[in-house]
Symmetry: C2
Subunit: 365 residues, 2 copies
């Protein structure tokens, strides 16, 4: 077995999910994530955790959903019981085709998703972590050769997380103390309020309220957004290519939008509900292991020298205890490159310029 697969399992089990002896662990295995599942099972055996492996296959889900009449009874008590008793949930993504669910209607997906709300919430109540095993299908989506993609993915995943967490803590502290953020870049001049908000130091570990591996971003929940922003990182949203999206905000709401490509899908997103016209997230990518866009949000939004904003739902972790942030059925991330001719200010002070933070040697005051 590739030694990197074992290292990936080590990071996932120890750093990310903090698995301990006696933990009841659910391990979801994508059809092509078998090797990583074997490595993770070995780690879980070492830890003396209890293992139940589930099969996360898009093709199985597609067959089930297309044959179903969409009257999901929401009463899948066996799966609910499983997650209510679980301590940790490790999802190993990796299939044969990232478009495996392409011909399942959005009505069916939404009905299924709604019926499974309780199961999803029980899963989110565990120490859950999502990761991916680098597969040929993900390499294809990224437009990369398989071996090249493996290098890329492990560069992103096998970081010195402790040291990155320490660096990200500096940005978190600045955001926690700040009241207003201003982002200036090509086609972008945007201000947002962040009073009373708590930033998440997303260091790929449940100990940091962070549930993705790789991670490497600091994010918060902005409000009262004003100005305009242009997203120059190419993305796929709801199965459609989206390029050069421009949004104009007035007192928190999107009041105008267009796009070089995919304006229709952005329009659809904005019309979902009231919350879809407001921002739910401001995220700042700090993972230097991610050096290019691969059309996979798990990686793209963590890329160093990028900033992303999400239309829709905010994470409660960013709000004062007991309060909820922006509510919406959607959470759609859009990304902008801040590597050149850009600056991020907190309360008028420049924190990041041209992709460099103020604590970095290359930072140019």
């Amino acid at each position: 077995m590739d030694e990197r697969v074992r290292e990936h399992a080590d990071v996932l089990v120890d750093w990310s999910a903090r698995v301990e002896t006696g933990d009841d662990v659910v391990l979801s295995v994508g059809p092509e994530a078998h090797d990583l599942a074997v490595a993770v099972a070995e780690k879980l055996g070492e830890r003396g955790a209890n293992l139940l492996a589930t099969y996360g296959s898009g093709e199985v889900t597609r067959a089930y959903l297309r044959a179903h009449d969409d009257e999901f009874d929401g009463d899948s008590t066996h799966e609910l019981a499983l997650f209510e008793e679980a301590d940790a949930y490790l999802s190993l993504g990796g299939g044969r085709n990232t478009s495996a669910l392409a011909d399942v209607s959005s009505e069916t997906r939404n009905a299924y998703r709604t019926a499974r709300t309780e199961i999803r919430e029980a899963r989110y109540d565990t120490r859950w972590v999502s990761t991916v095993h680098p597969t040929r299908s993900l390499a294809q989506q990224a437009g990369m050769a398989y071996a090249e993609y493996q290098e890329f993915a492990y560069d992103a995943i096998l970081r010195d997380w402790e040291s990155l967490a320490a660096e990200m803590a500096r940005l978190k502290d600045l955001l926690d103390d700040g009241c207003e953020v201003r982002l200036v870049s090509g086609g972008t001049d945007l201000t947002m309020r962040i009073d009373d908000r708590t930033a998440v130091n997303s260091a790929a570990s449940v100990a940091y309220d962070s549930h993705n591996l790789p991670s490497g971003e600091v994010f918060t929940a902005p409000s009262a957004t004003d100005g305009e922003v242009t997203f120059d990182v190419p993305m796929t949203v709801r199965g459609e290519a989206v390029r050069g999206v421009r949004l104009e905000f007035d007192d928190g709401d999107v009041v105008d939008y267009d796009a070089e490509r995919g304006a229709d899908v952005i329009g659809d997103v904005l019309e979902t509900d009231d919350g879809a016209r407001r921002l739910g997230e401001l995220g700042i990518g700090m993972n230097h292991g991610i050096d290019r866009y691969t059309d996979n949000i798990l990686f793209d939004e963590k890329m160093a020298e990028t900033v992303h904003l999400a239309l829709g739902r905010a994470y409660d972790a960013c709000l004062p205890d007991g309060q909820s942030g922006n509510e919406s059925a959607v959470h759609v991330d859009l990304i902008t490159d801040v590597g050149e001719d850009s600056r991020l200010e907190i309360d008028g002070e420049v924190v990041q310029r041209d992709g460099r933070f103020r604590w970095e040697d290359e930072f140019d005051k």
Copy 2:
């Protein structure tokens, strides 16, 4: 998809497990059983059942078990909760290597098995069915080409189960009414008591107390076995080839044994516990779709014109309500060919001669 895969799924879901709308179904998927899982998921969607797929990988289990210190805490509450709430359990066997667990010690396997007693019992309390997807690794074990093995497996699985159940009911009635069975064949002259025992018409459906697909046998729990028996069907027992086993019984107990090959492993089995020296099962194969031995007990013991006897544990279904039959930690089937120069008598009357039952045209009184 091969149309036979769909037909297999139809038989499994409708005939075998009797899945109904709203049933909570656990589907265990072997790493190479993906296509069958897709077909079964489609059927479960049609039925409006709830689906949770688990990943049944020998390699994952091996990695977990070898890394574990064997102090299994028996407290895997999430998996127990899953099966306690499940209505049906469908196991789709099919891996890449039938020897995937070869280097896991029997001590570890036994400790793991013991720790999981409650989970296993909860699973047996569901409408459970074990089947296999014909894979290259099973073809290899059978010494057959892949396409040839597929033909073989589907011939065994895609039977007219209703009609076979009706034929098997005739043998069940004779056994239920009988007191003594005598089996005479080359190297075999054995008598067993079956007073008060109830035979199981194992017609590959939970409606018949039958949990294997394929099935096609009638079995009961004999006692007070006397005489000798020779098993001429080649088998693998505990990973070792076993040939020409001969057992001698006196008043229920094995008093002497030898074998052309594998006598050691038979000796080990017999020494497990007191119950291991007694028979737990007399089974009569009646599946004419199975026309050769493939070193896979799921198929071999159901082959028409064979009789099998198991050392060890008896099935409670064969005993009067509330009573338990022979108890043992083992249940080891051994098979003898009765296609030639043989007869099976119940209370002195010949029921089967040279593989033909009395109700068959070719039966020679």
